[in-house]
Each structure stands twice: as structure tokens, then as C-alpha cells.
């Protein structure tokens, strides 16, 4: 229907964005009726998301014609931005930004580096940046889930953690059930994506490859490759961040600092 009204590509794109944003706002209104208030956060996220992706698209247009090292620069910038976004999910935990940034850099960064070296990811900037960004974005989401779950579990089980400390347990050991639960929970989306690949959803990369003329079997196999890389990057990130974050909730004298009301 929109195509009948809007003929220019840019106009059509903006109209599609507006309609999609309205759908998102509709969900927010439904949530509001159930007492869940996501209005301001969603509005900011929608506007930010649109501005960011258009800005990045414009910059990419310039950079994609640039030298190969610009890929590295872009990916590092993405990692820092992902660390800042994810770190906010661990409110009250000191050093959550540093933990998130290091975890994403080591987790997603090592997978990107290894796969590029092995030739699984093409070194061309048009391939390395989009594929790398997918790995970083998924690692960020997994990290956010892990930190959010860890924080909630520590707050909910402060009594059990202090009971373990009072019995002479090492600080890291007293929170180990919660780091493990956080790691497992954070990987559920990545595992489910792999499990349901091709049955529940046909991801964007495969659709894009098909549209650009790739052979369907190769497009399908490469989609699997991508999801396996996402799983590896996300798992590594989550593993590193849960290992790093557990020391951050204690003082040097092994006192639990993250507590309800503290």
C-alpha cells in the first residue's frame, strides 16, 4: 500500500520506518495497560536507533571505499559502544562498562580475528564490517542478559551468599551458582536461534545473499556459519564477563557490596 503513495526510495523508506515504529509504540501502549511503563525508554531507543543506523549507513558509504584498516577502526568503535550499552544493564556493579568492553573485545574480537585469519570471513571491508558487527551485537545482547541476570540473582540471594561467606567461603565461590545460571540463561537465545534455523526463521543475511544472486545452498550454509560464529562469540563473551564481574560485587575484605538497599 505504501508503494502506491510513496514513489521515491527515501520517502518510501521513511514511511516504512514510521509504520514499523507505530507498531512498536502500539506494543508499548498495550504494555502500559498492564502497568509496565516502557514509553520513554522505547521512544528514545527508536529515535536513537533510526538516527544511528542512518548515520552509520552514511559513514559506511564513505568508509567502504576506504583502505582495509578502516574495518579495524570501525569494529573497535563498535566494541566500545557495545560495552557502554551493555554495562548499563549491571546497574550498581562497579566497573560494569570495563567488564563488558573487555568481555566483548576478547569474546567477539577473538572469533572475528580467528575467522578472518582462517578465511571464513572475507577481509573485504564490505564483508568484515557487517559480519563483525553482527558478532559484536549478538555478544553485546548475550552480555547484557548475563549481567542483568547476575545482578538480579545476587540481589535476590544476598542472604545465601553471605551465609556462604560467614562459613569461610571464598567470595567467588559464594556467587558461583549465580554466575553459572547467568551464563546458561544468556546463551538461551543463541542456542534457540541455531536450533530453529530454517524452520522458524530465515535470517536476514541469507535473504540478502539470495537477493544479491548467491546460490541458495551456499547462502544457507553461510547462514549456519554465521550463527555458529555468533554462538562462539556470545558464549565466550558471556563466559569472560561472568568470570570478571563476580569479583566486582565484593570489597577487598570479601564483603558483599551489591545488596538490596545498599
Amino acid at each position: 500500500m505504501l508503494k502506491l503513495i510513496f514513489h521515491g526510495e527515501l520517502q518510501l523508506g521513511l514511511a516504512q520506518a514510521a509504520v514499523a515504529a507505530l507498531a512498536a509504540l502500539g506494543m508499548v501502549l498495550l504494555a502500559r495497560r498492564r502497568g509496565i511503563h516502557l514509553e520513554s525508554e522505547t521512544l528514545v531507543a527508536l529515535v536513537r536507533g533510526l538516527v544511528q543506523i542512518v548515520a552509520v549507513g552514511s559513514i559506511l558509504l564513505l568508509l567502504l571505499r576506504g583502505p582495509v584498516w578502516t574495518s579495524g577502526f570501525l569494529l573497535v568503535a563498535m566494541i566500545v559502544a557495545a560495552g557502554a550499552t551493555s554495562g548499563r544493564r549491571a546497574k550498581g556493579v562497579p566497573g560494569a562498562f570495563q567488564v563488558s568492553t573487555w568481555a566483548i573485545a576478547c569474546g567477539a574480537g577473538s572469533v572475528i580475528a580467528l575467522m578472518t585469519w582462517l578465511g571464513v570471513i572475507d577481509t573485504a571491508i564490505t564483508s568484515l564490517v557487517p559480519v563483525g558487527s553482527m558478532l559484536i551485537a549478538n555478544a553485546m545482547n548475550t552480555n547484557s542478559l548475563a549481567l542483568n541476570r547476575f545482578r538480579a540473582d545476587v540481589l535476590a540471594h544476598a542472604g545465601e551468599i553471605e551465609a556462604a561467606l560467614a562459613l569461610g567461603a571464598e567470595a567467588g565461590h559464594s556467587v558461583s551458582p549465580y554466575t553459572q545460571a547467568s551464563l546458561e540463561a544468556s546463551l538461551i537465545p543463541a542456542i534457540d536461534s541455531l536450533r530453529s534455523l530454517g524452520i522458524v526463521w530465515i535470517p536476514g543475511l541469507m535473504a540478502g545473499m539470495l537477493l544479491s544472486g548467491a546460490r541458495p545452498v551456499y547462502a544457507a550454509v553461510y547462514q549456519f556459519v554465521l550463527l555458529a560464529m555468533v554462538f562462539a562469540a556470545s558464549g565466550l563473551t558471556s563466559m569472560i564477563s561472568t568470570l570478571m564481574i563476580r569479583g566486582r560485587v565484593f570489597s577487598p575484605a570479601e564483603q558483599l557490596m551489591l545488596q538490596p538497599g545498599k
Binding site: G159, E160, E162, A163, A164, L165, A166, L167, G168, A169, E170, H173, S251, A253, E254, Q255, L256, K262
Partner: protein, 231 residues
């Protein structure tokens, strides 16, 4: 940091303890001694700083000022894990770990790479009135039974001093009397020194030799139970 001259029977000395959080004073200039074999009750109304004070004694919280001496040694010179093993704590709620009763009793010793012999586990459970409960799953215990396991779990660490934070406040009257019996038996049989926090004056009279009264984080009375609570 310093070391007190060894005074023989003083096992615990709180030396001018202060604790404030977000500019709110919870404990203010509190000093007292606990001698070997003493049962000291810390009493006072809700919000008077009793639990805050107890948490400073095993360093679950850090004093803003002041320190605690354990057998004459400034506790900042003792590794936190060793300090907490020496000053065993039983809290209002038992917070048992998932698994069996025996798993819970083995938790403390296992932190030092030790295993409690089966007969020691049985003896501890008998001490708290739960003989034969070794293999029971803690999910199936009543509130009173869970609190008894919590006592046995703390005793499994062979503490020097037992810190009790309102250990009967979450229990009904029958379970409460049962736990009081456990405390009396443990103190008598193990010769333990005990610092207990309670808002229940009658309970303090039944269990303690000495008492100190806290109000707004400060000690307002201190002495024998008779002098302090029946004055």
C-alpha cells in the same frame, strides 16, 4: 593496626566501632569485651543497630572507624575467611544450600579442603536434636529443623565465638523453645563463647550472663543480665 597485650580470657574486644551508610549513623562509638565462655546478649528496639553491630564483628560489613580484636589480634590482620570461620554466625533465616543436611554440614570444612568424618556429622546433628537426619533433603525440613541445621553447620567449622542474630525470631513458640534448648546445650557442652542479638528481653534473661542495651547505635546500659534487664 596493632596487637593488644594478651589479656588471657578476653576473646573478643570491640574497640570504638562506628558504622555509617549514606551519612546515616548505624553504630556509634561502641566498645565492649567478651570473655571466654561468656554469653553476651545485645538487646534494643528495632533499628537500634543490633544486627549492624553483629555484622561488624565478623567483618561482613566494614567499620567506618574502630576495629575488633580477636584473641588480642586486630581482625584486619586476619584473613576474612579465617576470621569468619573463627566467629561463626547463625542468622535469623537459615539460608541452607540445596542438597542434603550432610552437604550443608560439610560446606564449611570443604572450603579449607577438609571433610568432616561421618561420626562427627552424626554427633553434631545429635547436639542440635536432629540425630539421623544426615541424608534428608533440606527442602523437606520445617523452619525449626532448618534453623537447627544452620546451627550444626556453623558448629562444623569449630568456631571460637558463636554470633547469633535473632535466631528464633522467624519461628513459632515451640520451635523457639527448642532452639533455645539447643543454644544452652551447645554453650554448655562445647564451652562456647556467644554473642547474641535479640529484641526479646525474656529470651536474653534465659540465655545470657551479660547484656548490653543499644539505642540509636549507642550503648546505653551494660552489665550483668540482672543489673541491665531487670533494673
Amino acid at each position: 593496626m596493632s596487637t593488644l597485650p594478651t589479656s588471657g580470657s578476653i576473646v573478643l574486644r570491640a574497640d570504638r566501632l562506628f558504622r555509617s551508610v549514606n551519612d546515616k549513623s548505624l553504630v556509634e562509638d561502641v566498645s565492649f569485651d567478651v570473655r571466654a565462655g561468656d554469653v553476651l546478649a545485645i538487646v534494643g528496639p528495632s533499628g537500634s543497630g543490633k544486627t549492624s553491630l553483629l555484622r561488624l564483628l565478623n567483618r561482613l560489613d566494614e567499620p567506618t572507624k574502630g576495629t575488633v580484636y580477636v584473641e588480642g589480634t586486630d581482625y584486619r590482620q586476619i584473613a576474612p575467611r579465617e576470621l569468619r570461620r573463627k566467629l561463626g554466625m547463625v542468622t535469623q533465616r537459615p539460608y541452607l544450600f540445596p542438597g542434603t543436611v550432610a552437604d550443608n554440614l560439610q560446606f564449611g570444612p570443604s572450603q579449607r579442603g577438609e571433610t568432616l568424618p561421618q561420626n562427627a556429622v552424626e554427633a553434631l546433628l545429635a547436639d542440635v536434636g536432629l540425630a539421623g537426619a544426615t541424608a534428608r533433603n533440606v527442602a523437606n525440613l520445617s523452619g525449626g529443623e532448618a534453623q537447627r541445621v544452620s546451627f550444626a553447620r556453623t558448629l562444623a567449622n569449630s568456631p571460637l565465638v558463636l554470633l547469633l542474630d535473632e535466631p528464633t525470631s522467624a519461628l513459632d513458640d515451640a520451635a523457639k523453645l527448642g532452639i533455645e534448648g539447643v543454644i544452652q546445650r551447645i554453650v554448655r557442652d562445647h564451652g562456647l563463647t556467644c554473642v547474641m542479638v535479640t529484641h526479646d528481653i525474656a529470651q536474653a534473661s534465659r540465655l545470657a550472663d551479660r547484656a548490653l542495651v543499644l539505642e540509636h547505635g549507642r550503648i546505653v546500659r551494660e552489665g550483668s543480665v540482672k543489673e541491665v534487664l531487670h533494673a
